[in-house]
């Protein structure tokens, strides 16, 4: 009875002491956040970026959003014709494109349903605000995120690359 009693307790002490020595010699597993930062993976869903030129205000994203955090307003405008003498074109002009990140649950459905490649995921994550109302990003702010959007990652071997856009 006494014999197996010793190792169990001492093994536990050994594990903690081993970790103590490992942390002291090899460094910890944590990082000191504001001083050093981890790079999130390319696919990380950090913030949604808007390429305004591609948006036709078709409202697909706003409708498919599970918690209705996308607000779109737009109007039709007459643009000068492409060729001289042609009829003026009707274009959809985006007045308002807001995403309320206080509501957003980062499911990514809007990015997926967008038929014109106007929405992208960016792995940026540092946009917390002291006021909750400031989490409503308007289209200029969403447009600024475009700079941070990375290229899509290479796929693993054996992937069917043709099928993807």
């Amino acid at each position: 009875m006494a014999k197996p009693k010793v190792p169990g307790l001492f093994k536990g002490l050994g594990v903690t002491f081993g970790t103590l020595m490992r942390t002291a010699t090899e460094g910890s597993n944590t990082i000191q956040y504001p001083h050093e930062k981890e790079t999130p993976p390319i696919r990380a869903r950090g913030v949604i970026a808007l390429h305004e030129g591609n948006c036709t205000s078709c409202m697909l994203c706003a409708r498919s959003c599970p918690d209705w955090c996308i607000y779109i307003e737009g109007h039709k405008e007459l643009a000068p014709p492409r060729r001289a003498g042609g009829a003026p074109r009707k274009v959809n002009k985006l007045d308002r494109f807001d995403i309320d990140y206080a509501l957003c649950m980062y499911c990514g459905i809007c990015v997926e349903v967008c038929p014109f490649d106007a929405l992208f995921w960016s792995p940026e994550y540092e946009y917390s605000e002291p006021r909750i109302a400031d989490l409503l990003h308007d289209k200029t702010k969403l447009g600024e995120w475009m700079e941070t959007v990375p290229e899509a990652p290479e796929l693993e071997a054996g992937a069917d690359k043709k099928g993807k856009k």
Binding site: P4, K5, P7, G8, L9, K11, G12, G14, V15, T16, T19, N29, P40, P41, I42, R43, A44, R45, S64, P66, M105, Y106, C107, G108, I109, E112, W121, P153, E154, L155, E156, A157, G158, A159, D160, G163, K164
Partner: protein, 390 residues
């Protein structure tokens, strides 16, 4: 096995009788202790009303519903892709595993089957989310029993798994990666090598936890013979998952069910334990993490080439019908009964979540135990509040 349960009950009755005599003389009265809704042992907002006599529990009942979010009703007004995003949040520690049975049920109704590559990757991610879930259990177990260190080990090594899931799906906690007919995207390059390394780390983590916690005599004296659930009682209360296997029932839906997933392509073992006590439940889970790392390792070798998405229309309308699919989730059997009337969203979804059934045994198993054992038993039953209240 029945004997153990009876013995527990008899001991309790005897103790009650003895106490009753003492209490009449001393004119003491019992005490009602509300454990929760805000109590560290309840992982959230479960409330357990316990009637105590001294430190012994006379009667206990869980009171769930403090975090009810109405998922079954919400699904009726959401489309299928939106429901996938929602059901992520049921068991928030192993979220990918929540999507799979729902998607499988919808696929069953539509009559499509995901390509072999998608099935493989689904299974890998499913097991990764199992590891993410159960490894946190192993750490949390320590905290419930008073050891502070294991939980940090758990968070340390679970982080690697979450990073993997994030690299593949984009979401650390809520992947929303499963689609009807396959997956949203293929794996990113480098995922396989990274996963292999992480699986090695996870196995070391399991060894560490075994040395630190499971081998510890104090831990064993706290868990062995505590909260014994005999086989027949476990079956009567509808326990599932590791709780059932710890009672000696050899039952695992991954093996026993023919689903379009890749579990049958790997060689692994279903662990059971004959004792049915708290230690057995914890030990079975520890072994499960080890098995999961083995499954992932084997499946990584054999991912077939090909597409990850079957041909499905862009706007999904599921034909009329009803389908039930359940899988062996980290917490136990999780199933969706999907009723479709041909719309873009389901007409009705019944969610069978494991934790709700698992805690229904609490009034039975808590009778006659001491207050510290309440915590041990609750920890070993392992529930996630989101999974109970939905």
């Amino acid at each position: 096995m029945t004997m153990l349960g009876d013995r527990q009950q008899l001991a309790y009755i005897a103790a009650q009788a003895a106490d009753a005599r003492v209490n009449v003389e001393l004119e003491t009265e019992g005490m009602t202790l509300n454990i929760g809704p805000q109590h560290p042992a309840t992982h959230g907002t479960l409330r357990i009303i316990a009637r105590l006599d001294g430190e012994q529990v006379v009667w206990a009942e869980p009171s769930a519903g403090y975090m009810h979010r109405g998922y079954e009703k919400l699904t009726e007004v959401r489309t299928y892709p939106q429901v996938t995003a929602l059901v992520n949040r049921i068991d928030w520690l192993g979220s990918f595993a929540n999507e799979v049975p729902f998607i499988l049920a919808a696929e069953k109704l539509m009559g499509v089957e995901a390509p072999a590559r998608a099935q493989h990757i689904r299974t890998i991610l499913f097991e990764l989310s199992r590891i993410a879930n159960v490894s946190l259990f192993l750490g949390d177990l320590g905290v419930q029993l008073g050891a502070v260190t294991p939980v940090f080990f758990a968070f340390r090594d679970r982080e690697y798994v979450l990073n993997l899931i994030e690299a593949a799906t984009g979401g650390r906690f809520h992947p929303n990666f499963d689609r009807i007919g396959g997956l949203k995207d293929d794996l990113p390059a480098g995922f396989i090598d990274e996963t292999r390394m992480v699986m090695k780390k996870l196995r070391t983590f399991c060894d560490q936890i075994e040395d630190l916690l499971f081998g510890n005599e104090i831990f064993q004296s706290r868990t062995r013979g505590i909260g014994v659930i005999p086989k027949d009682v476990a079956l009567q209360y509808g326990l599932s998952g590791a709780n059932l296997r710890a009672s000696g029932v050899d039952w695992d839906l991954r093996r026993d069910q023919d689903l379009p997933m890749a579990w049958n392509k790997a060689d692994w073992k279903v662990w059971t334990h004959p004792d049915g006590d708290s230690f057995a439940r914890c030990w079975v889970r520890l072994q499960e993490v080890r098995e999961s790392t083995k499954i992932v390792d084997q499946l990584l070798d054999t991912i077939p080439a090909g597409p990850v998405m079957a041909k499905v229309p862009k706007i999904i309308k599921v034909p009329e019908g009803e389908a039930w699919v359940s899988t062996e989730n980290p917490l136990g059997e999780m199933g969706y009964y999907v009723v479709s009337q041909g719309d873009q969203g389901p007409f009705r979804v019944k969610i069978r979540s494991a934790s709700f059934n698992n805690i229904s045994i609490v009034p039975w198993v808590l009778k006659g135990v001491y207050v510290p054992d309440i915590i041990t038993i609750l920890a070993s039953l392992y529930f996630i509040l989101g999974d109970i209240d939905r």
